[in-house]
């Protein structure tokens, strides 16, 4: 019986050695170690042995069984590893193939500029005010100190719908409407929107364009507040090291009126083609709200004062992104629009 056991063991070890994959090895396991296998049979047949031999024989069978199991498990681990290895090799891919595209669109560059400005001023406590694009002459001109026959009306030749109604030439009527609605209370708003002027469309003119204006009214609002606010804006939009300067100008709805230049963000002020060699770039118009404008909206210009400013997102986008022709903003060429996809630092 002992010899029989040894022979079984040799056979089993040979078959384990010869197994080339997990399945074959499992078959060996079942064949030799399974409930119906020869080793189990041997154990079952031990009943025929004399009682004193049984413990010795039992121990011997167990030793063989353990030995075979051990070898088999070792082989099993090896074959499993090999199998995984083969599978991994089979599954390997060309990682340089293109990924499945996630197609997304993006903001129009003008919206991008407008939202950036909106968000900056929102963070300083402003609200966004909007109003109609078709306006009454009163809100577009008269309430802004531009009575009928005022020479400055020539500055912005307009599209009239009737004698008293026109396409707004600036977003200032939103300011006039807001002031009227606020009935003498303080105001802090940003007004973005489309505006229209009688211009032939060319590289620098567009009969439809965008404006964004700001208005602050309160007790003792000073020109220094305007300058400080514009400086915050310039640094946020064009870089921390931007300087600003104010130059006298004229707008009927502000007095004093100024234009704001920023130090050139391309050359830093030494002069280049962006700043036309001056080191400065004109960005916006601003001023202290004209007392006539305050009074017409029912504000006491002796008690309250305010500042206003206005700029063109087209101009800002053209400067910031180097766009040379204003018409690009309105042709909606996908090759143009899709360039404003990525985030900026």
């Amino acid at each position: 019986m002992e010899a029989q056991l040894q022979q079984l063991k040799e056979e089993a070890l040979q078959k384990i050695e010869a197994s080339m994959n997990v399945k074959e090895l499992n078959d060996v396991r079942v064949a030799y170690l399974g409930k119906k296998g020869p080793i189990t049979d041997l154990l079952k047949g031990m009943g025929k042995l004399p009682a004193e031999e049984r413990p010795k024989m039992g121990a011997l069978v167990n030793v063989v069984r353990e030995e075979v199991t051990e070898v088999l498990e070792a082989r099993m681990t090896l074959l499993q590893d090999q199998a995984i290895q083969e599978q991994l090799e089979k599954e390997s891919i060309d990682v340089t193939l293109p990924g499945r595209p996630v197609k997304t669109g993006n903001h129009h560059p003008l919206t991008r500029v407008v939202e950036e400005i909106e968000d900056l001023f929102i963070s300083m406590g402003y609200e966004i005010a909007e109003g109609p694009e078709v306006e009454k002459d009163y809100y577009n001109f008269e309430a802004l100190n531009l009575p009928k026959g005022h020479p400055a009306r020539d500055m912005q030749d307009s599209f009239y719908i009737s004698e008293d109604i026109l396409l707004r030439t600036h977003t200032s009527p939103v300011q006039a409407r807001t002031m009227e609605a606020k009935e003498g209370k303080p105001i802090k708003i940003i007004c973005p929107g489309k505006v229209y002027r009688r211009d032939n469309d060319d590289a620098t003119h567009s009969h439809q364009f965008t404006q964004i204006e700001g208005l602050v009214i309160g007790e003792n609002i000073r020109m220094s507040d305007l300058k400080g606010t514009l400086s915050v804006f310039a640094k946020k939009m064009f870089g921390e090291d931007r300087e600003i300067r104010l130059r006298p100008s004229f707008f009927p709805f502000t007095e004093p009126s100024v234009e704001m230049d920023i130090s050139c963000f391309k050359c830093g002020g030494s002069g280049c083609n962006v700043c036309k060699k001056t080191g400065w770039i004109e960005i916006l118009g601003a001023g202290m709200v004209h007392p006539n404008v305050l009074e017409m909206a029912g504000y006491d210009s002796k008690k309250l004062s305010g500042f206003a400013f206005g700029m063109g997102p087209e101009r800002i986008a053209m400067l910031k992104y180097g766009v040379e022709d204003i018409r690009h903003f309105y042709t909606n060429d996908v090759r143009f629009l899709s360039q404003f996809h990525r985030t900026e630092v």
Binding site: G125, F159, H207, L337
Partner: protein
């Protein structure tokens, strides 16, 4: 306004500043200098020449061979100008000269004859053709006999000068004159003014014996001064006066006309010269024109007048349109001997109306429109008289003929230094303020804490305390203003709920693959109502610039389609755009149109293009519908959303739906009609437009969490055979209504129509999900619920259960 810096220096000490530096100072303190123009254009080797001989070129009819004394030598120059002649003093560009436009002068041979330079026209020296005196417009310029051969020609022609081009804002009409600019420069540099001389010997005869004057329209013409000068010699003006006019952008004519223009540029006061004898009546009557009255103006145009146009008449007929243009009938000509010089104050409104009606804008009308200085009307007349005496040998008759009811009192402004400092956020001392007012030459007095200021009449823009704030600030320097932020009650800013949701809509659409477009609001009348969601009258411009941009749009789709065409023509294989913008419908009570914010989108071309893995898909109706469904889910409206087949002009009749929220129509979606596609050269293109304002403003339930079920759900699939015509949406609605409270989800997962089906039938398969968040469902409960669904489908839609 073009300002010659040399001319300017006659009235104010400019400290010898480099013109660029001067320009910068002027810009920083109030008037923008748009350009600094070097009139010499860097020219050298341009000298005076004397044409000693001039003969025809033997080989060329149009060329002349000239022997020219150029100072150091006499040299041969070939000249093609028709007016060259022996005995002339001319402008010679010698070899080595570089003329404006980069023309280099070299020795050359012309048809075998040597030419050592070029005899020049003024145009060749960079002067605009429209400014060159008519006599020399078609040929070379001839210098006065006094010019010395060999000397540089540039100073003679005033080309050794630099011009400042001022970009004047409407409030600074005071700077529309050399004197006005001199005041400004004087204030900047703390310098006094030197006024031009106006002295002459008066004749013993009186102007009033020659001319009488009456104004019948004193409102429009509150002041009129006429001077009479006799025995004038009409001739060319001296060169210095001609080149100053050309520098200022005015073409020289003859001495009398040139003097009126010169004084206009000097004082900002427009003048007009009449031929006294041609007036015939010895009187001037200023009145409003009669409707239909006619006058032939200096430009030989016959103009029909209206009753609001002011005219100068000789008592019988108009001889000038006041402030706009003179009449041909009284024009100064070569034979004129006696002239009447008009210096008047015509009000801005009157001149503006007249010049607009006749489409005639001149240096004169531009100044009247903005308001001239009432105190310069007489000064300018006297200055002109003195120049006529000096340059036209005229005899100035004693006195003037005057009607004067013009208010010339300066505006008074009272302002406290505190007010000024509070407005600016500064602490400027009273001394600094008064010093600035002195520099500006504003009469002022400081008393009891106030500044009492009399603004000079040349500065008609100074009326209120804020104007003084600006004057002080600009002269003190805006750089000195500190930077602060408003001190106020702190309040949070932010977007309105509508604005915030609109931003989310944009972000969603972009995430879904659409680019934001911005198109024009103005379109053609024909396009304006196309695809409009509702029928309403259109809003049209009174005077459109073109038919293409004459009417406000009522739908965003047409311009988006233009963008698709544009992109497709440029090889874009996918175009996916959306726009958020206003449409304009009908009219509200206030007279303005209803402005509705809409959202539209277009898609064309490939939607999915991942070809190497075999994923490729063209756009179709359901791509766009899916985007709309996702949007409505984002906004919390998906339960109320339905699509109903409809017909819209311009869209495919079988592939168009109206979009409804709780039964209310809020938009449309569909494929562009194949014939429209063909017309626009497009492939399958899908469009959608929504009334965005309505969608965003529609009330939505508060977001409240529904407990996630701990118990398993049970799914049952059903396959139905129904009539092909039956809308699957209807089947889905039947299932939802009949499924009871346990039915939590219905999902269409298969649709088949084709050979294997009986004609006119289709197979539709749904997957139904049942669960109860409180417990595990029993089989029986599910079977009961499911049977109700099947029964309802059979009864209401004639649906058969498929094996």
């Amino acid at each position: 306004m073009l300002v010659s810096t040399k001319w300017l220096a006659e009235y104010v000490n400019t400290h010898g500043l480099d013109p660029k530096e001067l320009g910068e100072k002027i810009t920083r303190s109030g008037i923008e200098v748009d350009a600094v123009i070097d009139r010499s254009h860097g020219m050298t080797n341009v000298v005076v020449g004397y044409v000693k001989e001039c003969m025809k070129h033997p080989e060329a009819d149009k060329l002349n061979i000239c022997q020219v004394d150029v100072g150091e030598e006499t040299t041969q120059i070939i000249c093609g100008a028709p007016n060259v002649a022996a005995g002339q003093k001319v402008i010679v560009a010698r070899p080595g000269a570089v003329l404006p436009g980069g023309i280099k002068i070299k020795k050359a041979k012309l048809r075998g004859e040597e030419s050592n330079g070029m005899i020049c026209s003024l145009q060749e020296l960079g002067i605009e053709g429209r400014l060159v005196p008519k006599a020399y417009a078609e040929g070379i310029y001839v210098l006065p006999e006094t010019a010395t051969p060999g000397e540089s020609a540039l100073p003679l022609l005033g080309l050794d000068d630099t011009l400042l081009e001022l970009g004047l804002t409407p409030n600074r009409s005071d700077a529309l004159s050399m004197l006005g600019v001199a005041y400004e420069v004087g204030a900047i540099l703390s310098e006094d003014m030197k006024y031009p001389e106006a002295t002459y010997t008066e004749s013993s005869e009186k102007a009033s014996d020659y001319l009488s004057l009456r104004i019948d329209a004193i409102e429009a013409n509150p002041m009129y001064v006429a001077k009479v000068v006799k025995n004038v010699q009409i001739k060319e003006s001296p060169l210095w006066l001609q080149h100053r006019l050309m520098a200022a952008g005015v073409r020289p004519h003859n001495n009398v006309v040139d003097i009126t223009n010169y004084v206009l540029m000097e004082y900002g006061q427009p003048l007009h010269a009449f031929d006294y004898d041609r007036l015939e009546t010895k009187e001037l009557v200023i009145r409003l024109a009669n409707d239909g009255e006619k006058i032939v103006t200096l430009d030989d145009q016959e103009r029909t007048l209206k009753s609001n146009h002011l005219v100068i008449t000789n008592g019988k007929e108009p001889v000038a349109i006041a402030g706009v243009m003179g009449g041909a009938n009284s024009e100064v000509h070569d034979g004129t001997t006696t002239v009447v010089i008009e210096s008047a104050y015509f009000t801005g409104g009157s001149v503006r109306q007249t010049s607009k009606d006749h489409n005639l804008r001149s240096d004169a009308s531009a100044r009247f429109e903005k308001g001239v200085d009432p105190n310069r009307v007489i000064l300018a007349a006297e200055r002109a008289a003195s120049l006529l005496a000096e340059l036209a040998d005229g005899e100035v008759l004693a006195g003037s003929v005057v009607v004067d009811e013009l208010d010339k009192v300066p505006a008074e402004v009272v302002v406290s230094p505190d007010f000024i400092n509070n407005r600016l956020g500064m602490k400027i001392s009273l001394e600094d303020m008064t010093s600035i007012l002195t520099r500006l030459k504003f009469d002022h007095q400081a008393a009891n804490g106030y500044l009492y200021i009399k603004a000079p009449t040349r500065r008609q823009d100074i009326k209120i305390p804020e104007d003084i704030v600006e004057e002080i600030a600009r002269m003190y320097g805006y750089d000195e203003i500190p930077m602060t932020l408003p001190v106020e009650e702190s309040k949070p800013g932010g977007l309105s709920s509508y604005q915030a949701r609109r931003r989310q809509v944009r972000a969603y659409l972009e995430g879904a693959g659409l680019y934001q477009a911005i198109t024009y609001s103005l379109t053609s009348k024909e396009m304006s109502q196309k695809f409009a969601l509702e029928t309403a009258p259109v809003t049209e411009l009174l005077m459109p610039m073109s038919e293409e941009r004459s009417t406000l749009r009522q739908s965003l789709i047409p311009h988006l389609l233009d963008a698709v065409t544009y992109n497709t023509a440029r090889q874009a294989d996918t175009v996916a755009l959306y726009e958020v913008g206003s449409v304009f419908l009908g009219e509200t009570e206030s007279g303005l149109p209803h402005e509705q914010e809409h959202l539209a989108a277009v898609i064309a071309g490939k939607w999915l293009d991942h070809s190497w893995q075999g994923e490729k898909k063209a756009v179709d109706f359901f791509v766009l519908k899916g985007i709309v469904e996702g949007l409505m889910e984002l906004l919390g409206h998906s339960k109320e959303l339905t699509f109903e087949r409809t017909v819209v002009d311009g869209l495919h009749p079988g592939r168009t739906a109206s979009i409804k929220l709780a039964g209310e129509e809020i938009g449309l979606i569909g494929q562009l009609h194949p014939s429209e596609q063909k017309m626009r050269d497009l492939k399958e293109t899908y469009v959608v437009e929504l009334n965005l304002a309505k969608v965003i403003n529609k009330e939505v339930e508060a977001l409240y969490y529904a407990p996630v079920s701990k118990f398993p759900s049970i799914t049952r699939d059903i396959a139905l055979v129904v009539d092909s015509e039956k809308a699957t949406g209807e089947l889905q609605a039947i299932i939802q209504l009949s499924g009871g409270r346990l039915l939590k989800g219905v999902h269409l997962f298969d649709l088949y129509e084709g050979e294997k089906m009986e004609a006119g039938k289709k197979s539709v398969a749904f997957s139904l999900t049942y669960f109860d968040p409180e417990r595990t469902l029993t089989d029986e409960e599910v079977v009961n619920a499911h049977n109700k669904v099947l029964k309802a489908l059979a009864e209401q839609a004639g649906a058969e259960l498929r094996g």
